[in-house]
C-alpha cells in the first residue's frame, strides 16, 4: 500500500454461506481459519496478530476460534463495524503489515445471524415500538430515491436480482443457486414497496479468513491488497446507514462509501475506470445500484442507465457481483466483506472456475452498513 510495505494475500479460506443448524459460529470460523492458514503454509507462531470481524457473536468471539485451535497467545482483536466488520478487520491487518509492525497476520470474520428481520441493539426500544426501526423500510426509501433521481425503474431493480441470482448458480459457496426471471422477481411478495422478496438478501451464516503477509504466499500468482479503507458517516443525511431520525433538507455530505472510495483510489494509486470487476454491497437490489453510484463506477444519477446498458453483467464492461453477491450468497455480517476478499483473490489468481472474469488484474470489494460504516478494498496482481 502507498507509503508502506506491500501487503500480500498469502492464503484464503471460506466456509460456505447458508444455514448450518447444529454447527456453532466458532466452528464456522475455525473452518475458514484452518483453510487460510493451510494455504499460506502457516501454523502456530506463524502470524503476529489476529483480527476478527463479527457483530452478533458476543464476547471474545475471535479468541474462542483460535483457542480451540491452539493458536492463542498473539494479540486477538475483535472488531465490530456492522456490515463492514470484516473490512474493518482487514484494514487493521493490512496497516499492521504495511507499517512493518508484523510480517504476517490472520484476518477472519464469521457470523451466525438470527432468523427473520434483523433485530439490532442499535435502536432505543421506543423506536422499535413506534415502528421506526425496520431495515427493509430504510432500504426501500433509498430505492425510492433512486427511482426519483437516478432513472431507476422496478424492472431495473428486478434485473439486478436476476443478474446476481444467475451468477450465484455457479457459486458453490452461495446459499441460493436458483435463477429467477424478471417476472418472477417482480411477482414475489412485496416486502416494502418498491422492494419485493427476491430483491432482498437473507441474513445467514458463514465465515471467511485471509492471511496477510509482507511476502507472496505459496499458492497462485501473487495477489496484493492495494488499499483497505474504512470510513464512517458525516452528519446531515437522513438516508445514511446510521439511520438518524432527522437530518437537514438538501444536506448531502459525502457518504462513507464515497469518502472511503476516494481514499482507496489514492492509497492504491489507481483509476477506478481500470477496475476489472467489483463485489459491492447488495443487501437489496437498490443498494447495489446506489453502491455503484457512490463508488463512482458510474456518474451520480446514472444508476438506471448503468443497469439498462448491462455494464455490470458478467459479460459487461465491469462485472458487478460475479459471485452472485449477497443476494445469492446471503449475508453473514462479519464474514461478508472477507468473503468478497476471498472471491476476489480467486478471481485474480484465475481460479474462480465458471465465475472467472477473464484476465482480471484489478478488483474492488465494498461493504456498507450499520454505524454507518463503509469499507472499500482494492486487490491487484
Amino acid at each position: 500500500m502507498k507509503g508502506g510495505r506491500a501487503v500480500h494475500v498469502a492464503g484464503v479460506g471460506l466456509h460456505p454461506f447458508g444455514r448450518f443448524d447444529g454447527k456453532d459460529v466458532t466452528r464456522l470460523g475455525q473452518h475458514a481459519v484452518r483453510e487460510a492458514l493451510a494455504e499460506a503454509g502457516v501454523g502456530r507462531g506463524g502470524f503476529g496478530a489476529a483480527f476478527c470481524g463479527t457483530v452478533y457473536t458476543g464476547v471474545a468471539a475471535g479468541h474462542k476460534v483460535l483457542s480451540g485451535l491452539g493458536l492463542s497467545g498473539v494479540p486477538i482483536v475483535n472488531v465490530e463495524a456492522g456490515c463492514a466488520s470484516g473490512g474493518a478487520a482487514l484494514s487493521l491487518g493490512a496497516a499492521a503489515i504495511a507499517s512493518g509492525q508484523h510480517d504476517r497476520v490472520l484476518v477472519f470474520g464469521m457470523e451466525k445471524m438470527p432468523r427473520g428481520i434483523i433485530r439490532s441493539s442499535f435502536f432505543p426500544p421506543w423506536c422499535e415500538e413506534a415502528g421506526l426501526s425496520p431495515a427493509p423500510a430504510y432500504f426501500a426509501l433509498r430505492a425510492r430515491r433512486l427511482m426519483l433521481e437516478s432513472g431507476v425503474t422496478r424492472e431495473h431493480l428486478a434485473r439486478v436480482s436476476v443478474k446476481n441470482h444467475a451468477n450465484g448458480v455457479d457459486n458453490p459457496f452461495a446459499m441460493f443457486r436458483k435463477p429467477f426471471t424478471t417476472e418472477q422477481v417482480l411477482a414475489s411478495q412485496v416486502v416494502c414497496d418498491p422492494l419485493t422478496l427476491y430483491m432482498l438478501c437473507s441474513p445467514n451464516e458463514g465465515a471467511a479468513a485471509v492471511v496477510l503477509s509482507c511476502e507472496p504466499g505459496p499458492v497462485g500468482p501473487p495477489v496484493r491488497v492495494l488499499a483497505s479503507v474504512l470510513r464512517s458517516h458525516r452528519p446531515g443525511s437522513v438516508l445514511g446507514e446510521h439511520t438518524p431520525m432527522s437530518g437537514l433538507p438538501g444536506a448531502e455530505p459525502p457518504t462513507p462509501t464515497e469518502t472511503a472510495a476516494r481514499e482507496a483510489w489514492e492509497q492504491a494509486g489507481i483509476d477506478p475506470r481500470d477496475l476489472d470487476l467489483a463485489e459491492v454491497q447488495d443487501t437489496d437490489s437498490g443498494r447495489e445500484i446506489l453502491s455503484v453510484e457512490e463508488l463512482g463506477l458510474c456518474e451520480r444519477g446514472g444508476g438506471g442507465r448503468f443497469v439498462e446498458d448491462g455494464v455490470g453483467e458478467r459479460t459487461g464492461r465491469l462485472p458487478v457481483n460475479p459471485s452472485g453477491g449477497l443476494l445469492s450468497k446471503g449475508e453473514p455480517l462479519g464474514a461478508s466483506a472477507l468473503g468478497q476478499v476471498v472471491e476476489l483473490a480467486w478471481q485474480l489468481r484465475g481460479s474462480a472456475g465458471p465465475r472467472q472474469v477473464e484476465g482480471a488484474r484489478l478488483a474492488l470489494g465494498h461493504t456498507v452498513g450499520r454505524g454507518a460504516n463503509a469499507s472499500v478494498v482494492v486487490l491487484g496482481r
Binding site: G116, G131, P134, P136, A137, R144, C192, P194, L248
Partner: protein, 137 residues
Amino acid sequence: MSQVPIHPGLFTLPGDPRGPRLLAARCPSCAGLHFPAGETCPYCGTDGCREEAIGAEGRLWLWTAVRTAPPGYRGPVPYGFGVVDLPEGLRIVSRLASAEVERLREGQAVDLVIEPLFTNDAGDEVLSFAYAPREAR
C-alpha cells in the same frame, strides 16, 4: 383510560395550546435543527441547543409501506413509512398515517397527527406521531 406518550419529550400532548408539534432543537451556533431534541448539536457539536416546537405540516419526499410487524413494533400493519421535509428546515423519518403507497407522491402535503398507536400492558393508550397525507383525510 389514560394516554401516555411513547417516549417523553418527542411531541406536544393533546390539549397543548401549540397544537400537534414535534419537539426539535436548534443549535445556537450553526442554527441546524435536529430531532429528537438533545443538548448537543449533532452537526457541529455545540452545546446549549434550544427546544423548538415545529412540524405541524410538511411535504413528503420518500415513502414505502411496512407489511410485516418488525421486532418490537406494537402498532397495526401495514403502516406507511417515509421521509418528510418540514418548512422550518428539518428532514424527518416518520411513520405515515397511510400505507396506500400508490396514492402517495413526491411533494405531497402532509400534516402531523399525534394519535394512539397501541394499548400498553397497563391499559394506557400509547401516543405516537405520524404524518397524514392531506388529500387522504
